[in-house]
Symmetry: C2
Subunit: 209 residues, 2 copies
DNA sequence: CGCGTCGGAGAACGGATGTTTACTGAATGG
DNA sequence: CCATTCAGTAAACATCCGTTCTCCGACGCG
């Protein structure tokens, strides 16, 4: 193994993670700009002052949550881009992956959707920067598909950004429906997303006229 | 004239509107779930207790703001749907109208984009309901276009919802760029929106296969 | 082993919060 | 014209907040 870190640093990271988890949990029913420092420490079971050992303030915790949330989204993008077969299968698989991701990481999805346009500038910027990176990654994936041969790089990026926006929107919509316990609505939204992707896919085929 | 209302009721509506305006102004830099009652009354210049003469609590004020914000959006939708000529002109006009709307009502746009996924359930529901109404209206407009002749009602609604989502996203993106004072970025986003609409429009033409 | 480091505890602070209460005084309407 | 209604005031309430101290005790390293 590379290096066994000390008990000291391990315990620190443990409470740091506990603070992040508590914050994410509390953000299910409020937004970051109303999240209280004491509120978070109370859930974790540490003194308020302990917070400062890990974050400067609440916005700082928010930025850390962005990295955590969108780090796990990275896996999803890779999974979607890796698909090889026809357009129809790729669409089905894409939506299926999104559905699964929302089911397994509901809090992260909610956090990103909520704070993307939320009241904390630093967090908005962090999310925007990360989503831009994803869009670039998606664009690179699209570039390799034969359909994009005659496309300009700018147009490919435009398409990628639309996909990313659509992905976030769909994930958030599924989550909202799931919160209401309405499984039928989830399926409806997934089906709608599939048809919307199909429509975009059709546009792609005839773009070069 | 129909009926001149009393000085009493007029003065009341005046301060009510002042509370709404103050709330909207404060929401430029925070989200609704962190907006304080005293904060709002302080800006208006009335006693905190006076707030209760107009709203039950802050979420209640939020719901009122939704109605005010999306009431003005109604005009925009009408303006877009009224266009007659070719697809290209309609797209240009649509984006132009959105740009103008964002320039004239930045606070309303920010509020809707922010609270659409925000931390206050009642406000989220109100926005979702209102946007669903807009989507239905857009769908009705699309129905009348010859391009949609062979479409099912369900597919037309799916398309309309995509347009509404795209509209909100674009408006919010333009606003963010405008906040940074980056006029060039605004133009870039507008141009991107036009191309995205063109892509969707292309998909529409070949949907019935 | 012994000493420095440092994550966390605990208490204290000044200030801001939402809500309730009793009140004032001007518009209202018979 | 006079009794009533009611939008807004002023003060007091119990809490809660973020931040700053001092201090403790277990870990890290030589």
């Amino acid at each position: 193994m590379s290096h066994t870190i000390g008990v000291r640093q391990a315990q620190k990271q443990k409470t740091r993670q506990a603070l992040l988890d508590a914050g994410l949990r509390l953000l299910a029913e409020q937004s970051l700009s109303s999240l209280g420092l004491r509120e978070v420490t109370r859930v974790v079971g540490v003194a308020p002052a302990a917070f400062y050992r890990h974050f400067r303030d609440i916005p700082d915790l928010g930025v850390a949550l962005v990295e955590e949330s969108l780090g796990s989204l990275h896996v999803v993008i890779r999974a979607i881009l890796a698909e090889q077969p026809g357009a129809e299968e790729r669409i089905d698989r894409t939506v299926a992956v999104v559905e699964q991701y929302v089911r397994e990481n509901p809090a992260h999805v909610r956090f990103i959707a909520r704070e993307r346009h939320g009241g904390v500038r630093a967090v908005r910027k962090a999310i925007a920067a990360e989503l831009a990176r994803f869009a670039a990654e998606v664009a690179a994936g699209l570039r390799e598909q034969p359909v994009s041969d005659a496309w300009s790089d700018d147009d490919v990026l435009m398409l990628a950004e639309m996909y990313v926006d659509h992905l976030v929107m769909t994930a958030s919509a599924i989550l909202d429906a799931a919160d209401d316990g309405d499984a039928a609505a989830c399926d409806r939204i997934a089906e709608r997303a599939r048809r919307q992707l199909r429509l975009i896919s059709l546009g792609r085929l005839h773009w070069t006229d």
